[in-house]
């Protein structure tokens, strides 16, 4: 089932001359894990904002083309309606947590939906357990590490049982340890709950392992779209300025001097195997 569909999507922020995204055509199936990469200012964040209605309902500007998420035309539905279908996690974990305890924060969305207390309790507990913050439920935001905060932010939207999870550079302010924990949670939600994931990331070495599909954007357009291995090892990805994992870089460096490995590696373990094959020969 197609869960996200964009046709000729173009958006220009009011006061800007050039569109932030231009002629975006995109179709995402339920259960996909889509990784979006691109240099800063390429339109990744703008695209994310179109997925839960922040564009056009929160940010003013001119929207052309169409975008449907879980069959709903984003233009015709408010952000608060879309919140039940699309969970949005932002870059800065600090500014997404408003309450004085993890539990209350996770409850926030459900309270807004007017759910009765008994139903709420169950969902909150489930969401906190799913991202591994159940033990932290009484902690205040300032008592949490960055990685923990970001996992709480995921729990906050998860509790509303969305079909799609959109994460806009969720690890950019985290240390590697925290980043790993966050991405691990996202992978788990995708694999175990078949949740559709749209992840914008700079840290490709960690994220690409989990993705089923990679999209590269540049200057507001989608320029590459396909299997992560093909996308990341393409010449364009490097010339656009994508921080491709070092093993992919090594693969390409070896290819340049005439040593072509049998497959494009995207993780250290894969590279180990590929090199072992070569060195045994």
């Amino acid at each position: 089932m197609t869960i996200i569909r964009a046709n000729g999507l173009t958006f220009t922020y009011s006061g800007q001359l050039r569109p932030a995204i231009e002629e975006v055509h995109l179709s995402i199936e339920e259960g996909e894990f889509v990784l979006i990469a691109g240099p800063s200012g390429c339109g990744k964040t703008t695209l994310c904002r179109c997925l839960n209605g922040l564009i056009p309902h929160f940010y003013e500007g001119e929207l052309k083309g169409d975008i449907f998420v879980t069959g709903l035309n984003v233009k015709d539905h408010s952000i608060r309606e879309l919140a039940r279908y699309v969970g949005m996690v932002f870059q800065n974990p600090e500014n997404q947590l408003f309450a004085l305890s993890v539990e209350k924060d996770v409850a926030f969305g459900l309270e807004n939906l007017g759910l009765p207390r008994s139903e709420m309790m169950e969902l909150i507990e489930w969401a906190m357990k799913a991202v591994g913050v159940y033990e932290l439920r009484d902690k205040a935001p300032y008592e949490l590490s960055g990685g923990q905060k970001q996992r709480v932010a995921i729990a906050c939207v998860l509790a509303m049982k969305p079909k799609v999870l959109v994460l806009d550079e969720p690890t950019s302010s985290l240390d590697p340890f925290g980043a790993r924990q966050v991405l691990e949670v996202v992978r788990k939600l995708n694999e175990e709950l078949n949740m559709t994931v749209v992840l914008v990331e700079h840290r490709l070495d960690l994220a690409v392992k989990y993705a089923t599909r990679a999209i590269v954007m540049n200057d507001g357009r989608i320029v590459l779209d396909g299997d992560p291995r093909d996308v990341l090892s393409s010449k364009e990805a490097i010339s656009i300025g994508i921080d491709v994992p070092k093993v992919v870089k090594l693969y390409r460096a070896l290819q340049e001097v005439g040593l072509t490995l049998s497959e494009v590696p995207i993780a250290a373990e894969e590279m180990v195997q590929l090199l072992q094959e070569v060195l045994k020969r």
Binding site: N52, L54, H57, F58, I79, R80, E81, A83, R84, G87, M88, F90, N92, E94, N95, Q96, L97, F98, A99, L100, S101, E103, K104, A107, F108, G109, L110, E111, N112, L113, G114, L115, P116, R117, M120, M121, I124, A140, P141, Y142, C156, V157, M160
Partner: protein
């Protein structure tokens, strides 16, 4: 002892004690009763009794250290109150006939300390979350009531929004303190000296600190609004709440005792003269 240290005497301390568990409204009633009585009496014996009455609450709440800090900060003001009263009586001999010279000034200082102590106890043992709940619980029906009478106010007051603003402002205090420290450090690392030069220069010195603070606060409020919207803020008219304040047995007992004590005190005030 800085101003911030004194504020520590108002900042909620997470703990589980019988006092912490009390309903915030009951605690508020307690603090209010004590303060009202402190204002009603000017006799030293009565004020000693009132001051002593709030000490067990501090002990039970396990907040003695914070409370002591607050008292230490407040004692300076208490001393001023003592001094002004003392001088006043000294220069108005007619007044002294009412009570011996030292007694009234001490009473007045004690009155001040009792009020500060009672509210310090309230804030130290009541989580902002509970305060928010109490606010929401009463503000929402109150707004409804108000709008029924003054229909023009419709849309002008958003009780949920007010409660949210209250909780969020408490929640962001540590974040903003951290941010301010970092901004001051960043500018000092660029040679900004805040404690040198004349008054004008010093005031100008705060510009490089205030501008980033304002800009970060504006950015934060934008991001918060975005995140709130994305989590269905305002989706239904009547928001529900994960926790509800409910008066428990203990609350009822404390409330009844407070009322009883208050009534007795009022009776004493009206009909029994206190010697000192």
């Amino acid at each position: 002892m800085s101003f911030l240290d004194v504020l520590e005497g108002l900042r909620f301390k997470k703990a589980s004690s019988p006092i912490h568990k009390l309903d915030p409204r009951v605690k508020f009633a307690l603090a209010l009763s004590l303060s009202t009585l402190a204002l009603a009496f000017k006799e030293l014996l009565a004020l000693i009794a009132l001051f002593t009455a709030h000490v067990p609450l501090i002990l039970l709440g396990g907040v003695i250290r914070q409370w002591a800090r607050m008292m230490k900060g407040a004692s300076l003001f208490a001393f001023f109150i003592f001094l002004t009263n003392f001088l006043f009586i000294h220069f108005h001999p007619g007044y002294a006939a009412l009570s011996p010279t030292f007694v009234l000034p001490i009473s007045m200082a004690l009155r001040f300390l009792t009020i500060v102590g009672a509210f310090s106890c309230f804030f130290l043992t009541t989580s902002p979350d509970d305060l928010g709940l109490a606010l929401e619980r009463h503000l929402v029906p109150f707004t409804k009531w108000l709008i029924e009478r003054v229909p023009r106010l419709k849309g002008a007051i958003d009780p949920y929004g007010l409660c949210f603003a209250f909780i969020a402002s408490v929640r962001f205090i540590p974040t903003m303190v951290e941010e301010a420290t970092s901004i001051v450090d960043a500018q000092r690392a660029r040679g900004l000296e805040l404690d040198r030069g004349g008054l004008l220069k010093r005031i100008r010195g705060y510009v490089p600190i205030l501008i980033p603070m304002v800009i970060n606060a504006l950015r934060r409020s934008d991001e918060l609004a975005e995140a709130m919207e994305s989590r269905a803020w305002g989706a239904v008219k009547e928001r529900t709440s994960l926790y509800e304040l409910r008066l428990k047995k203990g609350d009822a007992i404390v409330m009844a005792l407070t009322a009883l004590a208050f009534a007795i005190a009022v009776y004493v005030r009206i009909s029994i003269p206190i010697p000192l």
